[in-house]
Amino acid sequence: MTCYIPSIDQPDDIYTIRIKRSDPEKKGGPEWVSYQVKFVKTMTVMEALEYLWDQGEYIPFRANCREFTCGSCAMLINGKPRLACDTLLENNMSLEPLSRFPVMKDLVVDTGMVKSKLKELKYWPVSQDRSREFNVAQRVLEDFRNIFSRCIECYCCLEACPASASEVSQFDGPMYLLQIARANLHPLDTMNRIRQASERGIWSCVSCFECSDVCPVDLSPGEEIAKLRRQAIKMSLLGLFGLGKE
């Protein structure tokens, strides 16, 4: 379980970590519990949680790759959505589960609805004829490589966005619009993605770029949403005057 590089038996310091623990099956709401953690330099939050497991405190959390590639370990660290394996441990850190999803236990949230939402969006290339020939522009290839394939679906941007906070809004979150933008660029996709994006909240975005701030892989969903807005305005103005590509 543990993977500390320096030896934990000679710690540099003892740090306190506060975790919001809750069990929906038991009565009583969430409570903050403090733990003491032996700290060595370059220790990450995830290693602190693993240390607690070694001490017999079995706090559930999601983990997989431990190298900020899978996106499983996203949680609110000091109020900001970050990856636990990507964040260095500091004293008096507070850990909470992501607040946009129902909590299963302690730091684990139920993210099943994301899959059904993505199915609803049809974020794969929708096409009648999969065998037709197409040319892919160099810029599209680069965009795919540099932008869209980097998204690890960690849900940090969903957590940080103030405009998608409520249930009633039709804005699901920046990650979904990023996926729509990606499907838009796919050469086999024939669905009108701009119309889909227009209904899905590009106008509710307030351009605060909080999503771009918290993205652990340095993507900028705010930028992609702004690009979608430009395309939608262009198409609407063209449609208004009766022009437009065939």
Partner: protein, 134 residues
Amino acid sequence: MVSLHMSVPRKKVLRRFVERTLQQERLGFEAYVWAAHRITGLLLLIFIIFHLFTLSSILRGEVAYDRILSFMESPVVKVGEIMLLWVVLFHSLNGFRLILLNLFPTINHKRFAYSISIMSLILVSLSIPFIIWI
């Protein structure tokens, strides 16, 4: 349409923002800029209506209008004018930044936001003696 967060208790944006601020969680810099933009916008809307009210003294005759204008020379109003200048500058420069960001989405927004705010600071500090002098 199917809503995503069905089991999350319904929280409104403002309430959530206020709660997070009160719990002293560290919100990002950008969220505060967004909130300040909205607040300054509301203040400016109130100012416009108030300005129309003061101008309406013209309907009560020229003497009333002259009286209101001379009241505008008093130092209280001058201080208020400077505060108004700050509010207008913030809202308009942030709005300018938003317009630019939406026209050229690939600008590095953080660097841009900082440079705009520094520019506005220089503008205001240069313009205050200008206004008082002229």
